[in-house]
Amino acid sequence: MAFSRHTEDNLWTLIAAPTVWAFHFLLSYVVAAVECAPNSDIFEPIGGTRLLVAGITVIALVAIGFVLWRSIREWRYHGGGYRHNEDTDLDRERFLEFSTVLLAALSFVGVIFVAMPALTIWDCR
């Protein structure tokens, strides 16, 4: 089966989505820490920071969504399935694609989880 126009998956593509999660997490934390670090005016609303987190979140979700979309498409195109225990290039590829799908889904949910506090918390208390 032709692999052309498809990514050849490897360990780096496997961890792409969780890496995006990690950067999203780090940036959200840094943005909040910079805003609130000299914790002087704790009742001041931090609308700007929350918007910034929202922006980072959208970017992260789009990036992870892209990984997810691509890996699902390629996994299906290569025949899908869940076992992937054969001694062929194709099955190794499918295994990596399917694992990428799972990790991307987890990372997607993870990003949403992490973004939620910015919905409900208004200030630096």
Binding site: P18, A22, A32, A37, P38, T49, V114, P117
Partner: protein
């Protein structure tokens, strides 16, 4: 007629092969035994040593429980109680929980991958000796009443200021453990390269045993989790030894920085402890369900997913420090998210057990106990991950209960299951079923009796780390019950120890592959052979012993690769990362005392520094460097007697590879990733102070300026370019030019280092006065030390070139040094940017 003749010939050939293999892999006798570096021996020493530390720490736990059995007890003094619980936690975490992973992996990973050994056996041996020396040093301190008292996370200022903690306790903790962290990182490098490059031919990523997946993830986590602690240790020791004020608020420092650095390490650490134990479960369950694990990809998801998410949890240990609640929210959310992959694993295991026909056995008993206990700990974990609940439970016995449920359920029980499961590989006999069962029930019951009541005493308000409590608060009964339970639990452990140690001479050998498992480690003969594997097999399935017909016979008859050792050299096979295609026949080094000597000398550096014997420290440092150079010179990148060798089945492989194809290059790359993480943690410290201070650097304070940092940067860049050009010219055959470049690079590197030191020195930055000059100095010292190492490396290459050990074809040394210099150049750039530019921004 001629067929039997052939048969006899083949038989003879096989005998000869086995003789040669035996001879090459023979374990030295007598006192030379201790020069062994082979993974089977070193792994066993490692395992036994960490178990011994566990027993020691267990006795300390029992002492603590005796003291707490009744109110207002004076069995231990307050100070001694502090030492006891601090050392209990420290030893359990640093000398048992993490090392046992490395130990077990060193024993079984090569077997599981059909490799004769890991790629750097001497590195494992070096790591072991570091671990032993550091561990004995830290543990021994309690016999002199000098053990640390600050709890296993050593929060400053309690532990940094003489008036709170006189004596050497914290220094012993810091230096002893830093030393062991070095060993852990060494093991991580070894295990990553081993899993990626030493799999047998045909073992593609999708066919790799799940244990190997976990090892890969956990070793990767070590690489990013331990360096922040090393960075923290450096700051901490500089404050203790030289009064640099990193954690002293009066001079601009902040104790919170330590908490961040400690827990950026500490939280991933608990998963570093948990995942490898669960990896054992993932090997045991298929065997006793007698079917492949269901949901291979889901386990990969869980391992990799947990590996990442675990780095977003650290602040949940710091909920009570007054951080803004939006920050707490992020960490709380991530802490809840990590329950998803963790739950997935538990469900995968249950599904496999339901789908198979479960064979009753001791390992399975411990596995089921592990799952039950761990799930309870996981549930209280979900509770304390919520900040408002944690504010109530923080620093109470509820936490002590939670952490023991997860650690004992998630680590100790699986490890014991692993001991019962893998013992036949080590001891050639099975452990006793009857004793195992008794031990299991004692441990399960004792554990719950001991630790369940702690939830209640904690909710009643009993703080952790108190040496006694008043009567009449309702705490008397739960504490007494806990103590009784702890002894029942300990009785179970003692039975296991007895089962392992009792003489088994009159008991018959276990049959080969005694549990009828499907993975390669069970190819091992009974009694075991020292050659690791008879030949390097070709893999086509996940469970070759079940799914590849005639596999064991082909293996025994040496019908796969490397069935012989014609040149009487230790060899194993290197393959490609994705599909395990053969790449190289790797010669691995044999026994040596150099590793032990280097570890003893390095240990001396740390121990002398603890007691401030500076001259001795310096001497030991020089000797350590020399010993490592001797080790490298004599034992690495040896030029083989021929370019290629026939490894059997008509395949011929190169004996030498350099650059990204070689295992050494990857080891350097991985080490430098860890090293870079430690550096970035120091930079994090710099920016941490930058954000919390209104003015950083403080107005009017001297700064290193721009001139000297830029001069240094230019010189460092020159050294970097020289290293790179030396590699290229040497490859092209221009040896003379390459030598000039190596010499020039050495000089430029040293000059760059000198210029960088001059910047803060000339400007009069006094590191004791304020945290700003102190952080500048730390970045400078780190960078200069690395420049010096880089200079030494270039000089080493030059010497190798003159000695004829580095040639245009055989150029591992300069390949690796050029790689080092990429990282070094980045380090120089970041340091100069941080210390030179940030004063401009302020």
């Amino acid at each position: 007629m001629s067929a039997t003749h052939d048969g006899r010939d083949a038989e003879e050939l096989r005998k000869g092969q086995e003789e040669r293999l035996n001879k090459v892999w023979e374990t030295p006798k007598g006192w030379r035994y201790w020069s062994v570096v082979n993974n089977t021996e070193v792994g066993i020493w490692y395992t036994a040593t960490s178990f011994a530390f566990m027993l020691f720490a267990g006795v300390l736990g029992l002492l603590a429980r005796v003291q707490l059995a009744v109110p207002e007890n004076d069995f231990l003094t307050a100070s001694f109680y502090n030492q006891v619980y601090t050392l209990h936690g420290t030893v359990m975490m640093f000398l048992f929980a993490v090392p046992i992973f490395e130990a077990v992996a060193i024993v079984i990973l090569p077997q599981m991958l059909g490799a004769r050994d890991l790629p750097f056996p001497r590195l494992s041996a070096f790591g072991y000796w570091c671990f032993l020396i550091g561990g004995v040093f830290v543990s021994g301190s309690i016999f002199f009443g000098a053990a640390p008292e600050g709890g296993w996370f050593m929060y400053p200022p309690l532990t940094t200021q003489e008036r709170f903690t006189p004596g050497y306790g914290p220094d012993i903790w810091l230096l002893g453990l830093s030393f062991i962290e070095v060993a852990s990182i060494a093991a991580a490098v070894e295990l990553i390269v081993g899993t990626l490059k030493c799999r047998p031919p045909g073992m593609r990523l999708n066919l790799m045993p799940l244990y190997a997946w976990y090892v890969l993830v956990v070793a990767g986590m070590i690489l990013f989790a331990f360096p922040p602690l090393i960075a923290g240790d450096i700051l901490f020791e500089l404050e203790r030894l030289f009064n640099w004020p990193f954690f002293d608020p009066e001079r601009g420092g902040d104790p919170m920085l330590w908490q961040h650095l400690f827990w950026i390490f500490g939280h991933p650490e608990v998963y570093i402890v948990f995942l490898p134990a669960i990896a054992l479960v993932a090997m045991i369950i298929p065997t006793f369900a007698q079917r492949p694990l269901i949901g291979y990809s889901w386990i990969v998801l869980a391992a990799v997913g947990t590996g990442f998410l675990s780095f977003g949890l650290w602040v949940h240990h710091m909920y009570a420090t007054g951080l803004p609640s939006i920050s707490l929210g992020f960490f709380s959310a991530a802490s809840e998210a990590v329950a998803i992959p963790t739950g997935v694993q538990v469900f995968v295991f249950i599904a496999t057990l339901l789908a198979g026909r479960v064979v009753n056995s001791v390992p399975m008993l411990f596995v089921s106990g592990a799952l039950a206990v761990f799930v309870i700990g996981g549930l209280t974990g979900v509770m304390v991950a919520l900040a408002p609940f944690d504010w109530q439970a923080h620093d109470t016995y509820f936490i002590v209960a939670h952490l023991h449920y997860v650690l004992i359920g998630g680590m100790l029980f699986p490890v014991v299951a692993g001991v019962y499961y893998y013992w036949p590989l080590v001891g050639s006999r099975r452990l006793s079923d009857r004793l195992g069962k008794i031990a299991f029930w004692l441990m399960l019951i004792g554990f719950n009796v001991a630790f369940f009541p702690m939830h209640l005493s904690g909710l009643m308000g009993m703080p952790r780390r108190v040496w006694t409590y008043p009567t009449g608060l309702g705490l008397d009964l739960p504490n007494l019950i806990s103590t009784v339970g702890a002894f029942i639990f300990a009785a179970g452990i003692l039975i296991i120890v007895f089962d392992i140690l009792r003489p088994k001479g009159n008991q018959p050998y276990a049959e080969r592959n005694t549990w009828n498992a499907g993975t390669l480690e069970w190819l091992s003969e009974v009694p075991g052979k020292s050659w690791g594997v008879r030949c390097v097999p070709i893999i086509k399935t996940r469970y070759p012993l079940w799914e590849q017909p005639g596999f064991m016979e082909d293996y025994d008859k040496g019908r796969f690769y490397l069935a012989d050792a014609e040149e009487l050299q230790r060899e194993t096979m290197v393959t490609s990362v994705l599909d395990g295609e053969p790449v190289q026949c790797l010669r691995v080094p044999g026994p040596t005392f150099m590793t032990m000597i280097a570890a003893i000398l390095l240990g001396a550096v740390f121990i002398f520094a603890t007691f401030h014997w500076w001259e001795a420290t310096l001497v030991a440092m020089v000797l350590t460097t020399i010993s490592i150079l001797v080790w490298l010179w004599r034992g690495t990148s040896l030029i083989p007697e021929k370019a290629e060798k026939d490894v059997g089945l008509g395949l011929s492989l190169p004996l030498y590879k350099s650059g990204p194809q070689s295992v050494g290059w990857w080891a350097m790359f991985i080490t430098m990733v860890g090293d870079g993480t430690a550096f970035l943690s120091l930079v994090f410290g710099y920016f941490f102070f930058f954000t919390i201070h209104e003015d950083f650097p403080p107005t009017g304070a001297p700064t290193p300026g721009l001139l000297w940092p830029l001069v240094s940067l230019a010189l460092t860049a020159g050294a970097w370019a020289a290293a790179w050009a030396a590699l290229k010219t040497n490859k092209a055959g221009n040896v003379a030019v390459a030598r000039v470049l190596m010499a020039g690079g050495t000089g430029l590197a040293l000059a760059g280092g000198a210029a960088l030191v001059w910047a803060p020195y000339g400007a009069g930055l006094d590191p004791v006065s304020h945290v700003y000059p102190a952080t500048v100095w730390v970045l400078v010292i780190w960078t200069v030390a690395h420049a010096a190492v880089g200079a030494l490396m270039l000089a080493y290459c030059l010497a190798r070139s003159f000695a004829g050990r580095l040639t245009p074809v055989y150029d591992i040394d300069i390949e690796n040094v050029a790689l080092y210099w990429h990282f070094m150049a980045a380090t120089g750039l970041i340091t100069v940017a941080a210390i030179g530019l940030s004063p401009l921004a302020a």
